[in-house]
Symmetry: none
Subunit: 259 residues, 2 copies
DNA sequence: CTTGACCTTGACGCTGCGTAAAGGTGTAAT
DNA sequence: ATTACACCTTTACGCAGCGTCAAGGTCAAG
């Protein structure tokens, strides 16, 4: 399998300029050149390019990439695994960014207000994160678990924000439940809407929604006094009413742990 | 409250060069200049700089930032939404890359082979995404319901996105659990970290965290076969191991529904 | 033999600053 | 009044990682 610049470029989703540049800086040289000076890439170069692009995606500069992949003691599999870890970390960071953007949007829409210190919270946090990203390994070696814990605290920070959202959604569930409960009919529109809200609320915490699990949880709300007490706040017999509504909503009859 | 370049720079955590550059491109001009040409910034500029840095943290280029903050009639929220879309696209791409890395890992382990074009799946997707960004509507027409549904049902879409985030956090819990389980000690560092991750995960769904409820849920994981089966995926006896870790973590002994 | 898609090298442009260089200020201490 | 020293100014080049012409050579098809 031999490729010219453009063929390889198309396959890899980069520009021909990029390939020429990589040749220029010696990062990825073609297998050979044909009689008229055309660059010809082979299998090996394809693999190498893939690796290069992997690392590039991580935001690594080309110089570092070169050092890594040209290192004779380069351990492919373990590098890949580390690579995966880093990608996961980056995704978490992206999630944080997205959350920030979303908060800003809803703040801009007046749906919620963002205190100045809140703005700086995420902002400062990011600075810390950048440091960690850059010196991650070093710091981990130098300062040990403490730093690692701090990066966990970042997650906490995130869940703190989410938590706010969830609290309001949960409040909605409670409000809807109170209203529906007063109406009295678990199959009524209000009750069904409550069940739907509750499902949405669940979507935040469950690995995968299933009617069975939903109904099962509703039953648990009745069986477990901690949860029952919580829904009792909405109305008398709140947990049972919610369970009934959810049973109708899902069309699934749960099995109580007690029956 | 007047600041010279360096004072403002120190306060905001940027370099003086940055401030001069922002002046140069007209992004942030000083309130005035004193008799010898020194830049003097006032309260207004401080606030503006805060905004600039905030948007910059969101990954926006200076040009876009300028448009947003200088044009009062500019639609900030919609710009943010566009930005959010970009971030989400990046996230989708990241997910693909992660999949790709995992494929590569298993290919390296000889479990499967990869065709040349497969090697670039995640990277090519980026181009596709860019296309989608540019020709969004057209493509929506072409690809039909899936995309349309997503953009139409906004609420649903939102919980769908969250759901994605949570799945990844849940995955982390599972990964940590598997690792801790292998180590074998529920009071060990790994297991305690797992319990902590699990707590964070819970923070997304629970109206209020309490040690008792946490321990109670952990017990439920053991008692309820649906949940037990789920954590069994991480390792043999996963649910019980997790419960033990959480019991130690919270210092609370739960009551089983069965005892 | 022409057309058009491909290839080559060369060179300048872009962001968002870092980093001198060459010089003028402000002020506190002598 | 001088000196020291931290501060300020403008000008200008440098960096990565390419994008984007420009000016020309090559290859397969018709």
């Amino acid at each position: 399998m031999e490729y010219t610049v453009q063929k390889l470029a198309r396959m890899a989703g980069v520009s021909t300029r990029t390939l020429r540049y990589y040749d220029e800086i010696g990062l990825l040289e073609p297998a050979r050149k044909n009689s008229s000076g055309y660059r010809i890439y082979g299998r090996e170069e394809v693999d190498k390019l893939q690796q290069i692009l992997f690392y590039r995606e991580l935001g690594m500069d080309l110089d570092s990439i070169q050092k890594i992949i040209s290192n004779p003691s380069f351990d492919g599999p373990s590098a890949l695994r580390m690579h995966r870890e880093k990608l996961l970390a980056r995704r978490r960071q992206l999630d944080l960014l997205i959350t920030n953007v979303e908060s800003t949007i809803s703040a801009a829409e007046g749906k919620s207000t963002m205190a100045d210190n809140e703005k700086f919270k995420g902002f400062k946090q990011k600075l810390v994160d950048d440091n960690e990203q850059q010196y991650g390994e070093e710091i981990r070696g130098k300062y040990g678990n403490d730093t690692v814990d701090k990066s966990n605290a970042k997650m906490l920070n995130m869940s703190e924000e989410k938590y706010e959202e969830f609290k309001s959604l949960e409040q909605e569930v409670l409000d809807a439940l109170a209203e529906a409960c007063e109406a009295g009919d678990p199959s009524g529109e209000l009750a069904q809407k409550t069940a739907d809200l509750h499902k949405q609320w669940l979507s935040f915490t469950w690995p995968a929604y299933s009617k069975e699990a939903h109904a099962g949880l509703a039953q648990m709300y009745v069986d477990d006094e901690r949860f029952a007490a919580y829904y009792e706040k909405a109305c008398v017999g709140g947990a049972k009413f919610l369970r009934d509504a959810i049973v109708i909503y899902t069309g699934v009859e749960p099995e109580s742990s007690f029956e």
